[in-house]
Symmetry: C2
Subunit: 203 residues, 2 copies
Amino acid sequence: MSADKEISSKSTRNRILDAALDVFSNNGYHTSRMDDIVDEASVSKGSIYFHFPNKERLFLALVDQFSDLIDRSVTEAIAEEEGIQKVSVAVETVLSTFAKYRRPTKILLVQAVGLGSVFEKKRQEVHDRFANMIEDFLNEAIAAGDIQAVNSKITAHAWMGAIYTLVMQWVMTAEPSKEEIQTHLLPLLLRSVGYEPNNEVKG
Amino acid sequence: MSADKEISSKSTRNRILDAALDVFSNNGYHTSRMDDIVDEASVSKGSIYFHFPNKERLFLALVDQFSDLIDRSVTEAIAEEEGIQKVSVAVETVLSTFAKYRRPTKILLVQAVGLGSVFEKKRQEVHDRFANMIEDFLNEAIAAGDIQAVNSKITAHAWMGAIYTLVMQWVMTAEPSKEEIQTHLLPLLLRSVGYEPNNEVKG
């Protein structure tokens, strides 16, 4: 593929993803048809099926796109951080990214439930991806002597479960509010590894 | 209904539930048919449909039965406890009940995923039931001065998320082991509310 063609193909793919998010958001995943997305994206029918063989794959690609966005945001945010601050800034960034993108969060987490085991596999994959990231950060913070020598694998899964559950709760019921979650969840997680957040609050 | 008839009807219902657990466990939820459960339970076809209009309802009744079992186990275990010990013993009991009943746990949590939004509603209901229970215990422990004045609603949902995620992880992959979870998860949760479990470990 020539560079030009690759760029154009990439942007077609992104245009389809953007359109799919709009269509799923307005009509719900189950009643949306590939044709609606074709119309919304102003692409040819051939082009949508070239990138995504079916609606399910398109949905899963949206999940990956959002996971990549969180991953990138975290990586940028922690670039200058070390030890426990890396852990802390990473969790803050995850929470603020969800809070900023309530619409995709709602579509990807809530509508996904109806997809059953296919989505469950993807959910597990994303969960493991971020649990592994947290585990690495925790191990660094333990090595730096910032926190207790906790079991970092169990801690990472427990944290992911806590974050996922509260974010789901928030997108479904708006209760607790994102401000409450952002205020209370991080200190709770940090205390769970023996770190008192009051000591070194970052402005 | 006479008392005799009620007892007999109750035991028929339980026999059907036991049989359903066996059949789902051996064949998987999706390939199991109501007829298989009729055979396994040695009840009449009329009798199974009298109690459960369809397979989905039967499955949801199993979830309720297991939730009731956990609820009863917790209520019994905490009868003599107060303050933070109530919180601690409740979480221990939940974890040991899951560990003791790996087969129903696996069927009810893992196979349930394929049920989509119907199960999601039930899962949310069960989640809220136990989150409310934990919230009450946390409020008591705060009132007793055993733990910090944390946001008990957010803490309760975070704990439920952590417990659910680790139990799911365990039934699906046997990793981390139930011993590891039992050893590390409770101290993690207790530390998250500012309680150092080493102070008052119960034999």
